[in-house]
């Protein structure tokens, strides 16, 4: 029973997350209903792209969350390495498959958008390639952190990988400014006013908020599952050594 004391703090987390999870899930559903209504029905077609522009309302939020998820994972990894907080490793481990999912959505919707607009599914320009690398970093983290039966053993190596891979995040963000690429430059996060008409910016921001809450909901669920899993494992080990 000796290592059960480590879950004193996580127990508090379990209680706290049980209370806020239904709220998070409810807000996510509400934002998705409103956001999808605006994105699919209550927003105009683009003057150049026509109806195809609606792919943006999924592609852009997914891309933002794929980078946000990696930042969460890198932040949690740094916390785990420096302060040895028991929840940090679990957060990093939980964020990886979720982030990988959002990156896959980004790549798939980007490809579907690229074919009609650019005339190609895929090009090896700096933006697209750096996002593909992000996807592989996620996969590497998933593989490394789950390579051992004892989840704590792979955690350190995976944390170092997450921190090293973090250099890719600013490269993704600024690739459209640093090199000439096929991908267009940033429309929303720039010093001048956003280059998107308010009637199209509104659904984009609602969808971005919906994706953020969706990510947080999934992250909390995944952390809870991981905590429960470890608790079961610790109890089994304790039982086995008692016999």
């Amino acid at each position: 029973m000796a290592n059960l004391h480590r879950f004193a703090n996580p127990n508090r987390f379990l209680r706290f997350s049980r209370v806020i999870l239904p709220w998070l899930a409810g807000i996510t559903a509400l934002l998705f209903i409103v956001g999808l209504y605006y994105a699919l029905f209550a927003s105009p077609a683009d003057y150049q792209q026509g109806e195809t522009v609606r792919i943006m309302y999924v592609h852009v939020p997914a891309a933002w969350i794929s980078m946000f998820g990696y930042s969460v994972m890198a932040g949690a990894s740094a916390t785990a390495l420096i302060w040895r907080h028991p929840l940090a490793d679990i957060t990093a481990r939980a964020a990886a498959p979720i982030g990988a999912g959002f990156t896959l959505i980004t790549l798939a919707t980007g490809s579907l958008w690229g074919k009609p607009m650019w005339g190609t599914w895929w090009v090896w320009d700096a933006r697209l390639t750096s996002v593909l690398i992000l996807f592989f970093l996620y996969l590497g983290h998933i593989a490394l952190s789950r390579a051992f039966d004892d989840p704590t053993r792979g955690a350190k190596a995976a944390a170092v990988l997450a921190l090293v891979g973090f250099v890719n995040v600013p490269i993704i963000k600024f690739s459209v400014d640093w090199w000439n690429v096929l991908h267009q430059p940033a429309s929303v996060s720039r010093l001048a006013a956003p280059a998107i008409d308010p009637s199209m910016l509104r659904p984009l921001l609602i969808m971005a908020l919906a994706f953020t809450f969706y990510f947080l909901t999934l992250l909390l669920l995944q952390i809870r599952a991981e905590l429960t899993h470890r608790k079961v494992r610790a109890l089994q080990l304790a039982q086995a050594s008692a016999q």
Partner: protein, 153 residues
């Protein structure tokens, strides 16, 4: 609490060193990471005939002419121009004043024969009515002009 601080400085130092190393590598490979060359790049450093490369810029206004299945047009970066010919299906967004990236070979007569043409989209999103109203009122700022600000010098 010394070990905690040691680990903190170790991680901070490691991230800083990694960031600087990456910045150095990326700036060293700057030319290699370019997805396409501009007409000015090609005039300054002429490519050998037969070397495959990508050429990008704006389709010059009034330069598009069709000769059967072959399309001839001029790519400009508002500084230099290169004449391009292409046989095949053009993407929907291809039009005069639009940013494009073409892939092909420089011919010995200075023409660029493209085997692929990709349309480059700009970062502006507008409903059609707003774009029409801006054009009608004379306040239209061509999206293409915006993208040349980011074009290679």
């Amino acid at each position: 609490m010394r070990p905690k601080h040691r680990r903190l400085y170790f991680v901070l130092f490691g991230m800083a060193a990694l960031g600087i190393a990456t910045a150095l590598v990326l700036s060293a490979f700057r030319d290699g990471l370019v997805f396409f060359y501009s007409p000015t790049d090609l005039v300054e450093r002429p490519a050998e005939p037969g070397q495959r490369l990508r050429l990008g810029g704006l389709v010059e206004e009034g330069s598009v002419s069709r000769d059967g299945a072959t399309v001839n047009f001029v790519i400009t970066d508002l500084n230099q121009t290169v004449a391009v010919s292409f046989t095949g299906i053009l993407p929907d967004l291809f039009r005069e004043g639009q940013g494009v990236v073409t892939e092909g070979m420089m011919q010995s007569d200075g023409r660029f024969v493209a085997s692929d043409v990709l349309a480059k989209h700009d970062e502006n999103y507008l409903p059609k009515e707003v774009a029409d109203a801006l054009k009608a009122s004379g306040n239209w700022r061509e999206g293409a002009v915006d993208s040349t600000e980011n074009a290679p010098q």
